[in-house]
Symmetry: C2
Subunit: 247 residues, 2 copies
């Protein structure tokens, strides 16, 4: 995420003066790519930047932030699940959270990525809005509880859908069947979601309460006890949701 | 599914002589659209067709098949989870299963949809292969247990991913947040799956074992006790899968 944000802010005209990372190597790699300074030493980080962007794992944000106590500028974290006030040791601070999944090999388009922003004051919020607006057309002012709800929704929409696909691929692989066989149904699943709500798009044995088919699946899942439980649980939840009974 | 198959077989040059449905109305609606005969009466179904395609819910396939005892031609069901031999009352029979999700308002492309076929003899299998090959470039000979595994994988890849997205949309809606906010991350999730295996694409708090974030999510999920359990369960399964620990 650090890489994608830094490159996009630079492209949109912001001067990126320093890349700091707890791992000096990765700081220098990105800094080289951007033609700027990279360091693994806190002392070398300029004390007078306009913005300090913390792109580190959620769990270390408070600790890294504390190490920079007394630095000026606006301190921002990029975490959906962290409260605004984890940065309250600083004078001016806020949140810049891109609702997106990042991977090393590929840069998702930030211009359509929703950025959720929150600042410690109206003035700071306005500045973060402007910063986010320089890379994305989709910027939302959102307080900590709402941002957490969005982050949670993102986990279901990304991590958990991905895990369902992983299980599907593993079942195929274990049977010696090409995992690409499900690519067309995956594509159609996602195209459907752009046309209608998920609750209206639902099909399948759980929706129809087709016990025979579900029993055949469960029999096959006996070799995967965890997935057998998961199957039962999700099917019950689909069945229990009256909004998902259409077909 | 009946509609999509009938229209596609007609387009590829097969003559569709009769649409039978237990509901006369829906038989006539489709028959009108195709310029052929529609009926709700078994006695009006021609006894000498080349193929009889059973596109009815899995649970009623055996019953409907029995009602046509003695009819000639090749009898086919279209169900992923039904064994070949539910049609063994007929002389020649088989399976033609399109691995796809169908909806009323939209025709998914059948030409890229994998068709899994199985016949009661080598000769019949060859004929079903040819029939399927007239609408799809992707035809696989697959026996009953393998087809069931593919069908099960399809449930995870379609029904269960869809349900995860439903939960995400419901959480947003309940907070008064636009459900379209997750559209870009959904798109990226699916684009990632075309580039890499799901196990390699996984990210998020469960993969990182970020307990703090998971606890914040669980706190928020207290108003949805079923989804709280689901969250815990899926997160544990992601965490337990060493192939999904990358980020």
């Amino acid at each position: 995420m650090a890489t994608h944000l830094a490159l996009n802010f630079q492209k949109s005209g912001y001067e990126v003066t320093c890349i700091y990372s707890r791992s000096e190597n990765s700081a220098e790699r990105l800094a080289d790519r951007m033609g700027t300074m990279g360091t693994g030493s806190i002392k070398e980080v300029p004390r007078e930047a306009g913005y300090y962007l913390l792109c580190v794992p959620d769990t270390v944000v408070p600790e890294v932030s504390r190490q920079f106590a007394g630095y000026r500028g606006i301190w921002l974290h990029c975490a959906g699940a962290l409260p605004l006030d984890v940065l309250s040791d600083h004078e001016r601070y806020g949140v810049l959270y891109p609702l997106q999944t990042f991977s090393r090999d590929h840069a998702p388009s930030l211009s359509e990525t929703p950025f959720l922003v929150e600042g410690c004051s109206g003035e700071v919020t306005g500045m973060i809005r402007q910063l986010a607006g320089s890379v994305s057309a989709s910027v939302y002012l959102m307080d900590t509880p709402s941002r957490l709800a969005v982050h949670l929704a993102g986990v279901f929409a990304n991590n958990f859908t991905n895990h369902m696909v992983h299980i599907a691929q593993q079942i195929l692989e274990d049977q010696g069947i090409d995992r690409q066989l499900i690519t067309p149904i995956l594509n159609e699943t996602f195209q459907k979601l752009s046309r209608m709500k998920a609750a209206e798009a639902q099909t399948g044995p759980a929706t129809r309460n087709d016990r025979q088919t579900m029993d055949r699946h469960l029999e096959m899942l006996k070799v995967y006890p965890e997935w057998e439980k998961l199957y039962t649980f999700i099917s019950r939840d689909i069945r229990g949701n009256p909004r998902e009974k259409k077909e």
